[in-house]
Every structure is written in structure tokens, then in C-alpha cells.
Amino acid sequence: MKPNNKQILDQALAQLPQYKAPADIWKSIEQELDKEKGLPHIDRAISQYKADRVQAHLPWEKIEHALENQERLNRAIQSLPVHKLHKDVFENIIEKTQKEKPVRSSPYLYWIAGMAASLLLLLSFLWQNEIPASAEKIHITYREEAIPPTDWQAVYSQLPEEDELMQFIRENCARLAMQCQEPGFRGLLEEYLELHAARQELVNQLQTHREQTQLATYLVRIEKEKTEVGKKLIQHLL
């Protein structure tokens, strides 16, 4: 069988001769290396010196002891218990901070502040007189936008009737007005209403796209979230 093109080249490459390096090269290399002969001794001496010092100050027993110690500490750190914060701690902090009297400032501070204010007034007066008034006038305007407060009582009375929990809220918020006004409760209710609306939307979508099984998965997730939020709402009212 005839060798192919690649085989011909490979065979020729394999037959390429090997040459012997001239014998005297090593002598030249050695001579060159001899010039640097002193350096390794210095390097060795320095490393030896460092090693001796470390050994003298840190015998192996000491190192081993330190390592064991560290290991023990690490084990202890890993097994540290997790503590729960007592509820009254935060209240105590608030109480204490409210009781603390404001620190009285030094009279010198008032004096310095007064001086600085006068200086600023003086500078601004001078600046206004120095710089000629520009023809361009700047008007600074501001506008306040008032957001009408949400009528929560109206919200509670209009809660959808088909949901059992909403019915419960509606009934209870008529009696327990205080709990229903709390921001935490309102936030939860808003979340609950959003989840309720999303659930409704998904139910509608499922009716038209029955083949989309992923919708059912989302619906289950929303139901779960809704139940969780619902639980929290009930806890507020109980």
C-alpha cells in the first residue's frame, strides 16, 4: 500500500538526524556559572541564618501547641450557640434613649457658631455689592403635591366578598379600628390584595390556556404566598 502524503512527511520527519552538542560547551557554561559561585553561598547563608533564628525561637513543640490551641478555639467558635434576642431589649434601648438628656454644649461653641454666622452674612453682603447684578433673573419655585390619605375604612368595607379571610378582616376592622390602622397591617393587606388580584388573573388565564401547565405552578405558588400573608394578618387581629 502506498503511503499517503501526511505519512510521507511524518516518516521523513522521524528520520531527521540528531546532532551531538560539542563537548566543550559545558566547560564554557561551567566557567560562566563559576562567576556567580559566591552568590549561592550568600543565599544559603542567609536562608540558614533565617532558619536558625526561627528554629531557636520556635521549637516544634511550641508550634504544635499553638496549632492545637488554634484548632481548639476554632472548634469552640464553630459550636457557639445561637441566641435569640429578648423582646424587651429593644424596648429598653428606646426607653433609655428617650430618658437620656441632651448633652449641653459648651458656651464657647455657641460663641464660635455666632461668629461664623456673622462672618458669612458679612461676606454675602460684600459679594452682593461687588458683583454687578446679572440681567438674567433666577426664579426658584417649588410646588407641593398633596397625596390624599387613603380612606382605609372604605377599603375595608369594599373588600371582595368571595374571600373568607377578607370577610373576616372586614368584620373585625369594623370593631378593632386601632389594629387595622397600624402601618404593618396595612402593608400586609395591600400585599394580600395584590396576591388576590394576581391569583384572579391567573385563574382567568388558566381557563383560556389550559395547555399551559406552568400557569398552574404559578397559581400554587401565589396561593401559598397568599396563605402566609393571610396568617400574618390574622395574627394582627387576634
Binding site: 502506498k2 503511503p3 502524503n5 510521507i8 512527511l9 516518516q11 521523513a12 520527519l13 522521524a14 528520520q15 531527521l16 538526524p17 540528531q18 546532532y19 551531538k20 552538542a21 560539542p22 560547551i25 559545558w26 564554557s28 557554561i29 561551567e30 560562566e32 556559572l33 556567580e36 549561592p40 544559603r44
Partner: protein, 183 residues
């Protein structure tokens, strides 16, 4: 300590040599040199086409090897690492000798290369020596030493595509030179 973890250094003899060389042990240095000298000299002789230049480059390369061994991290085999230094030494020698003769001939022929059935190593060697230095380097590094185009590009300092095209040109030229030699 670090050297023991080097994946490429599983040969205990080579590891021992390396340790010795790092301690500037002359016997270890000599043994390492003798292990690789002929293969490296052959490569340099082909690159430089001159025995004296090749010997000079080999000497320079091994001095550099012994100086730089402390930087060897074992990312490749010790032989491959030494070879890289040897190639650089050869390239540097070529540069100092202005051996990079301009390539006047660019073969515009896209015909596939066909090697003569009677091609032998002896003929090939003669033809390689007649190639311009640039083509010769690429052919030697890819076909003889087994580097990839990319690696050759990195070593020589040319783009991977240039290495590919120079290899093609080198083969074309070799084909022509071989035809003359074998007639």
C-alpha cells in the same frame, strides 16, 4: 516543598536534578545539561544553520536555564520549559546575526502540497536548511517540535494566522527545494 506538588514532575530523577540545580549543585547542573543537550543543540543547529552559532546559543540558553530555575512553576514539563528558553535563545541569536533575510518569494499557488514518495530525512534536512529563517522557524516549531500555531505565534511574536500562512509557504517552498534536490 512546592516542587513535590508539581504535576509535571513525576520523574523522581528529574525532581532530584531540579532540587540539586536549585541548590546550585554542580553535579546536578551537569546531569541536567547532559540530559537535554543533544536535542536542544539539534534544534538550534536547524534554526541557526551554523554549528558555532548553535553552540553559542546553547551555552546562553543553559546559563539562562540555571539562572531561571527558581522561577519554574511546573506549568509544563521541565523539558518543554527548557526548550522554550532554548528557542528564545535561538531567535535572539538569529536577530543578532541579522539572519532574518527578507522573504522575497511569496508563492501564490493554492494547490495542495504533495510529498515525493522517496522523501527521506536526509533530503528533508537539506531542504529545511535552505529555507529562509522565518519559514524555517515556523516549520521546525510546528512540524518537528509539535507546537501549535498559536504557541508558535506567541513564541515568535506573530499572529496565529500569520504562523499558519507561513507554514503553508514553508511547505510550498520545501516541496520545490526537494524537487531540485531529489532530481
Amino acid at each position: 516543598m512546592v516542587l513535590k506538588s508539581l504535576s509535571y514532575l513525576q520523574d523522581p530523577y528529574e525532581l532530584e536534578l531540579l532540587h540539586g540545580c536549585m541548590q546550585h549543585d554542580r553535579n546536578a547542573q551537569r546531569a541536567l545539561y547532559y540530559k537535554y543537550k543533544d536535542a536542544m543543540y539539534t534544534l538550534l543547529l536547524r534554526m541557526l544553520n551554523d554549528e558555532e552559532d548553535a553552540a553559542d546559543a546553547l551555552q546562553e540558553a543553559f546559563i539562562e536555564v540555571f539562572r531561571s530555575l527558581k522561577n519554574y512553576r511546573g506549568a509544563s514539563s521541565l523539558g518543554a520549559w527548557i526548550k522554550t528558553i532554548v528557542i528564545r535563545s535561538g531567535l535572539s541569536k538569529q536577530k543578532s546575526l541579522h539572519a532574518f533575510e527578507p522573504i522575497s518569494e511569496f508563492i501564490q499557488d493554492n494547490q495542495p502540497i504533495t510529498w515525493d514518495e522517496n522523501l527521506t530525512g536526509e533530503y528533508l534536512e537539506k531542504a529545511i536548511r535552505k529555507l529562509p529563517a522565518g519559514y524555517r522557524n515556523v516549520f521546525l516549531l510546528v512540524e518537528v517540535e509539535g507546537y501549535t500555531h498559536r504557541e508558535v505565534g506567541q513564541i515568535i511574536g506573530i499572529a496565529e494566522g500569520t504562523a499558519k500562512s507561513q507554514l503553508f509557504q514553508a511547505k510550498k517552498m520545501l516541496q520545490r527545494l526537494l524537487k531540485d534536490l531529489m532530481e
